[in-house]
Symmetry: C2
Subunit: 199 residues, 2 copies
């Protein structure tokens, strides 16, 4: 068994956003899949460590912004490398609201999809949300970014970011300090410190 | 709502193979997703019209061959455009067997994954299989093909294949005859005749 074999599965990258009472929030996910067209339903698996996860579990509604190849690394950092439990991610960021009043990213996005959860499955570290698509609009013709494109063209090369630190062997996230705390969890892919190696 | 918005989700393309008694079979799918890494589990949604679907439902085991950008259109035709209910798809085709004795495609593939079903969810037109990864090996460094790459570089342009006929607006499959039978089902994406338009 070669665990790196799983890297060859192709994924897109998406901003998954939601709203609870007056709080907007979102995170980056790579697992949005249309599973049936009649009815139009999608699946998304969300790590339980994401604050967005808990909000969707409670509200049952979310938007997916399909990110394009023109998405900046700052956008991935903003939505992926910090938690909505600590900050207001919608503050100072360009967004619009769809009919469900949930935010989506009008820039660096070619499509937004609004969805309503119809069932959840506990997958241990993640929850799988099966959801009806309630709205979907195309915003641009820019190509959707794949995880592979992100790794090759958007993520800064390690040399450019730091001379010392640790790199997550799962997703490439760089922790720019030494030592790496034993209980560190990768802010992108949520893997533990044991999956990091020194730069 | 723009139903074409769903096209911007990024997918890979995979040969999904299985074995029941002495019968080997397989089909093409675009929905293989790793949902958790601890344990290593994947999801695949399979249309119930695929004979492979019924076999996996009975046997609970399958392989996924991750197809590369070098996969020929003939391979997609062989595995995707005909049913294992009618022919022996393993006949005259290069294949190998993994430890579970199920075939995988050693050529035009960069990875094979063996998996054992742990639960099934009825999604109406499709069944969703959640499965433990029992084996996975990397076979080459060729890039995985995406559905978008297939549409742009592998699928023959309509002009090259036919002067008359119908094209599936969902997946681009060309039916090279006239008229299109009313009960026709697209052999690739299983959409009905109402989703076809004249060339």
């Amino acid at each position: 068994m070669n665990n790196k074999a799983m890297y060859n599965l192709s994924y897109g990258l998406f901003a998954l956003t939601t709203r609870e009472n007056d709080k907007d929030n979102g995170c980056i996910v790579n697992t949005v899949t249309q599973v049936t067209t009649s009815p139009n339903r999608i699946l998304v698996a969300v790590n339980k460590k994401n604050y967005t996860h808990d909000m969707i579990l409670r509200t049952g509604e979310f938007n997916v912004s399909i990110l394009t190849e023109h998405t900046s690394f700052d956008t991935f950092k903003h939505w992926g490398f910090q938690s909505g439990a600590d900050i207001d991610k919608a503050l100072g960021i360009p967004f619009k609201r769809s009919a469900n009043q949930i935010i989506y990213l009008p820039e660096e996005t070619n499509t937004y999809i609004s969805a309503k959860v119809i069932s959840t499955t506990d997958l241990g570290t993640h929850t799988l949300f099966l959801a009806d698509v309630t709205d979907a609009e195309v915003l641009s013709n820019d190509p959707s970014v794949t995880y592979s494109y992100y790794q090759q063209h958007i993520k800064p090369a390690p040399e450019q970011t730091s001379k010392k630190g640790y790199v997550c062997t799962i997703c490439g996230y760089i922790y720019e300090d030494d030592p790496l705390p034993e209980d560190f969890i990768c802010p992108i892919c949520k893997h533990p410190a044991s999956d990091f190696k020194p730069l």
